[in-house]
């Protein structure tokens, strides 16, 4: 009898927790953060052997592909040397034009680089835990990059760890644009490896291979961060393959573009 009662009570508590989490109360958030802080050191230690094994496998792969890689790199080098010349010219031209315009450069964003220590792997949630938190100056809402590619956004920050919502998660959305046409759309995660493009104006030309980057609308992400390429464009469903691959996330960069602050300072300036 007492057993049954305990069971029923705990089932009720589980449902209550789900409802509470859905309402996103302060308490649920606090519990998560405290726990993240507690397990961060354990996960950090546990992720080391996995990282070492992955590195060993990568080395083996590289050894096998050495010759083919060499040829490919030589060709790439030729192509890039050409681009370097072009880039130098453009840089020169850019500097000249800026000096003509009295251009004021924006502030350099501050950033923190952190190791990925936890990955929720499963098909239900796409988020990772990184080994940096409040004490490293990370704030909720900051943009997370891998190299120069968009990875996601910081959703929870504890003292020594933070949770990053990946752009493939079903709860992720970002304003983006097609680099070819400048057409705006919303990138929406769907818990698969290929998020969808939504709200693209009808009739916009879009083809596999087109590059997608953030548009900067809404002030959450700065404009121009590379997101991915269109992988399939069928009627009603346009899919994007992100540049940042989840299994390759080892170190990520958390960047503070000062964007959440822009809006509030703008408002206070109006008063």
């Amino acid at each position: 009898m007492a057993q049954r009662f305990t069971f029923a009570l705990l089932v009720a508590v589980s449902f209550a927790l789900m409802l509470m989490g859905k309402a996103d109360t302060f308490l649920a958030q606090r519990a998560r953060l405290m726990f993240d802080d507690a397990v961060a050191p354990i996960l950090e230690v546990m992720s080391r052997p996995a990282a070492a094994a992955a590195r060993a496998m990568q080395i083996a792969h590289e050894l096998v592909d050495l010759r083919a890689d060499n040829v490919r790199l030589r060709q790439e080098n030729d192509r890039l040397s050409h681009w370097q010349v072009v880039a130098r010219q453009l840089d020169e031209e850019n500097r000249f034009l800026r000096s003509q315009l009295n251009f004021v450069p924006g502030p350099d964003p501050s950033y923190v680089t952190a190791r990925v220590i936890g990955d929720s792997d499963g098909p239900f949630v796409h988020s990772v835990l990184i080994e940096a938190g409040i004490r490293d100056g990370i704030q909720k809402g900051e943009v997370v990059l891998s190299g120069e590619f968009l990875v996601g956004r910081v959703t929870e920050v504890a003292q020594r760890a933070a949770r990053v919502l990946l752009l493939t998660d079903i709860n992720f959305a970002a304003p983006v644009m097609l680099e070819n046409s400048g057409a705006k759309a919303i990138l929406a995660g769907n818990n698969t490896e290929q998020p969808e493009l939504q709200f693209l104006a009808p009739g916009t030309p879009v083809a596999p291979g087109d590059r997608v980057s953030t548009s900067g609308d809404g002030g959450v992400f700065p404009p121009g961060l590379p997101v991915g390429t269109i992988s399939s464009a069928q009627e009603g469903s346009i899919r994007v393959t992100p540049f940042a691959r989840r299994h390759q996330l080892d170190y990520v960069t958390v960047v503070d573009y000062g964007l959440p602050g822009l809006l509030s300072s703008g408002l206070s300036g109006d008063q």
């Binding site: 057993q3 305990t6 069971f7 705990l10 089932v11 508590v13 589980s14 449902f15 209550a16 927790l17 789900m18 509470m20 989490g21 859905k22 649920a28 519990a31 998560r32 726990f35 993240d36 397990v39 354990i42 996960l43 546990m46 992720s47 996995a50 990282a51 992955a54 496998m57 990925v116 220590i117 936890g118 990955d119 929720s120 792997d121 499963g122 098909p123 239900f124 949630v125 988020s127 990772v128 835990l129 949770r163 079903i170 709860n171 769907n190 818990n191 698969t192 490896e193 691959r245 989840r246 299994h247 390759q248 996330l249 080892d250």
Partner: protein, 171 residues
């Protein structure tokens, strides 16, 4: 003089073993694998532990520990709080009620029982989260996850059986 006290302490620590093993499995599931095709799939490792111990030593993982394991799993993996707790409670409930059946049968029957439990748990989790996120999620990854979990049952249950024999024989 200290004998009985030490013995009791030793026994108490040993009795925590199933719970700790399940907790460690939750943590293992959360460590990044960095393998190209495994970033979307993670077998529900703690479920294996929960099923095994619910058959062989249900006294060591009661309702409250099962609930706590679920809560820890939700906190570690980032799923909404309460989802794993509910699933773990249900899995324990069903398994304990059928444990006599499994105990008297060969291993493959328990494996088959676990397969049913794992598929049901995955589907229930999928349905719960689809309702909570107000969107239906792809079912394919859920199937693959359940399959991986089922395939990992034999090696893990072998490990549990060894630890049971060496640590819990008279605890």
């Amino acid at each position: 003089m200290n004998g009985p006290l030490l013995q009791r302490f030793d026994r108490g620590v040993r009795r925590l073993l199933p719970f700790c093993l399940c907790l460690v499995l939750s943590l293992v599931a959360a460590t990044p694998t960095r393998l190209p095709d495994f970033d979307m799939i993670m077998p529900a490792l703690p479920l294996i532990g929960l099923f095994y111990w619910s058959i062989f030593r249900p006294d060591l993982i009661g309702w409250l520990p099962a609930f706590a394991l679920g809560l820890a799993n939700d906190l570690i993996s980032g799923t909404p709080l309460g989802v794993s707790s509910l699933l773990f409670l249900l899995v324990r409930g069903v398994t304990v009620s059928r444990r006599r059946f499994f105990l008297s049968r060969p291993f493959r029957i328990a494996w088959w029982g676990f397969s049913v439990a794992a598929v049901c748990a995955s589907l229930a989790q999928w349905a719960l989260l689809s309702v909570m996120f107000r969107q239906t999620m792809g079912i394919r990854a859920v199937g693959v996850e359940a399959l991986m979990t089922i395939l990992l049952y034999p090696p893990l249950s072998w490990l549990f059986a060894r630890s049971q024999r060496s640590m819990l024989i008279n605890a």
